[in-house]
Structure formats: C-alpha cells, structure tokens
Symmetry: C2
Subunit: 221 residues, 2 copies
C-alpha cells in the first residue's frame, strides 16, 4: 500500500467519524467551530475575549488541541467555561476520532456551542473534518500579509477569516486590505473580521455574528 | 500495512536520502542550515538581514520551501543571493528527496553555505532530516513565550533558537527569559540568540556565529 492510498484511508476513516459527529451536532442543535491558525496567532486569546460575552444565554464547551501542555485549557477555564485538553503527543492536527472520544462523557443536551481549538498549524488541520459547522482561520498582523497566498488550502476550506492583532499595525509591515484581497481571491465567500484581543476592538462584531450562527443552528432542531 | 508502518517507511526512505546529502555536503565542506518556524516568524526577513553580511567571502545558496508562491525566493534574490523555490503543493514540510532533486543542476564546488528555509510549520518539519548540519528554530515575540513547551519536538531536534521581533517587546506580552528557560528545559545544549530584523539588533552576533560554523565545516575537508 502506497503513501497516497494510506492517506486516503486515513481521511476516509476520519470522514466517517466526522459525519457521525455532524449528525449528533445537528440533532442537538449545537453550533461547532473548528478554530485554526499558525502557532501564536491568538486563538486562545480570541476565546478569552469572546467567551465571557457569550456566557449570558449560551452554554459553551471548548476542546483544546496541543502537542503538549494543559496551558490553553487552563486559560479557558479561568473565563468560567468548561474546557477539555487533548494532547496529541507528536501529531500535527486533531482528528474526528479524538473529538468523538472526549465527547463520550459529555452531556451534549446542555450545550449550544462547541469551539475546537486545533493544533497551531496552518497546513495539516485543513485536511481533517471534525464534524464542525465551519473552520474559522485566524491570521495575525505580525505574520505578513501574504499568508493566504502561501497557505491557500486552509483559506479554501475556511468559512471565516479573522485578522487579529490590529493593535500592532503601527509597528509592523502589514497591509490589511491586501491580506483580505489575497484571501478572497482564493475563497470569495469568506466572512472577514479584524480585531485586537489586546484592545478589544472588533470583538463585539464577531460575538454578534457568532450569536446569529448559534441561534440559526438551534432553530433547525 | 498500518499508518505507523507507512510513516516508518517514509522516514526511513527520507533518512537514506538525507544521509546521501550529508555525505555530499561533508565532502564539499558546505555548511547547511535547515531553518524552521511557524508561518510568519520571520525566516525570510532574517535571511534578508544576514545574507548581505555574509556575501563578502562566502557563496550562499538558499532553498525556499512553500506550499505555493515564489514570493520568498524573489525576496532572497533581491539580496543578490541565488535562491531556488520549491512549491510543495499541499505538503506541510520539505523532504530530503526534494533537496536532492533541486541540487542536481547546482555546482556545489562553488558553495560554502546552503540555507534551506522550510515550510512554515512548527510540527512536521521536525521529523524530516534534510542532511543539514543543524536545524535553527525561530520563534517570535508575538507568538507567546510558551511555544517551546507546546511544540517540544522541534526544540528537541534544533541546535539553535532565535527569538525574533524583539523590537515588538514593548507592545506584546512575552517574557524572553521564560521562553529561553522553557526551551533549555527541553534541550539544554541549545544556542540561543535574540534579534530584530526591523532594527538589526542582534543580527551581527548571529552572523559571527554562523561564519565560525562555516569555517569549521570548511576546515574539515
């Protein structure tokens, strides 16, 4: 069996598990986000800003993926939201089987929103469906505006892009319009937000949009 | 054949090619760096700073790895240094076979230093030997000081770590000492540098250290 056959086998098995997850999430009316980015773009910081604003009226669960450490789950728990940490060991992405396993002991009837914070990696997680409603990709102003061009596979599968760390714009060489235009050149249906987790700018727009998505999913049950 | 067997097969084949490369580099006295980091940590920016300072007396070749675009090779060529761009398509790392292939038409007798700028990814490139003398890992002050803890496999295989973007320290929450201490906790033999490609701070120290490495390798032929 060759490398490509094995990859196809892995992805097809992952898809089976992802489909099972998606069916459960649909039945329960849970909106599910797969949050992806490079290491250090601010996925956890974004959640620290957003989650307190969703607490009123929404029950959220966060699943944290990292090679090592419980750091991110601990940061999330400080906001008062439940978080489950998955340590992948060496693995560069989460798979649907990881999510199925940790949800075995969770009462999903109580939950409106699940955010899966994937391993920091702008490449590999793009290939793995986790049963989510949407992948949201974060890029930050310190990474260079050409990231969408250089990592198009992730932009292609995402439904929304958040440009984070706009408070650092005066100090870095980053053209927000160019970055968005590169991204929309790859995926013109992309919803785009800009924000700063340091100043809070733009956070309310994301929260409002997310609340609408959660309500829409709920209404379908 | 299972997933693990196939991975072992891929890595063992990669090692064969890497050993061939390493033997050639040793015979020719070429010092080879495998430069790794997250997307946007400043690998290309670091090379733009370092390469002009090495030009006098050293002949360098840069090999650029990206999923897509020729952007980085073009930036390197503007410094007057030859650059070969490898586009991996979807692949999240360079393999030794990629390097062997692009070096087929290069006269290695003229070269003192090869820098391979890997795909921006803090996970997968750690598993692939490219025949290099050392992996140098870049982290940047905008990524959070806990990156060594969260991506230990890369820190473990690196010989040096460069903490980049120290000009942004006043604007971000990043403790340089903690970052270095986390990294040395995983790999206590790590050479560590701090620098800013925006202000040039710390660049000369890296250049001096690199010149010594190049000279040492050359002297062994």
């Amino acid at each position: 069996m060759g490398k490509i056959d094995v990859m196809e086998g892995i992805l097809s098995k992952n898809q089976t598990y992802a489909d099972m997850l998606r069916q459960t999430f649909t039945e329960k009316g849970i909106f599910v986000v797969n949050l992806v980015s490079s290491p250090g773009s601010g996925k956890t910081s974004l959640l620290e800003e957003i989650l307190p604003l969703l607490k009123d009226g929404h029950k959220t669960l966060v699943i944290e993926g990292d090679l090592q450490t419980e750091n991110d789950a601990e940061r999330i728990r400080k906001t008062g939201v439940d978080a489950i940490q998955i340590n992948t060991g060496g693995a560069c992405h989460l798979e649907a089987a990881n999510i199925l396993k940790v949800l075995e002991n969770v009462d999903l009837d109580l939950i409106d929103l699940i955010v899966i914070e994937n391993v920091g990696n702008l490449v590999c997680p793009s290939s793995y469906d986790l049963g989510e409603d949407m992948k949201i990709v974060l890029v930050s102003t310190t990474e260079g505006e050409d990231k969408p061009q250089k990592y198009p596979s992730m932009i292609r599968v995402a439904k929304a892009m958040v440009v984070n760390k706009i408070d650092l714009l005066p100090y870095v060489n980053f053209n927000v319009e160019k970055c968005i235009s590169y991204a929309r050149g790859i995926n013109n249906a992309l919803d785009v937000f800009t924000c700063s987790c340091a100043t809070g700018e733009g956070i309310l727009d994301i929260v409002k949009w997310l609340k609408e998505k959660i309500a829409t999913k709920k209404a379908l049950v």
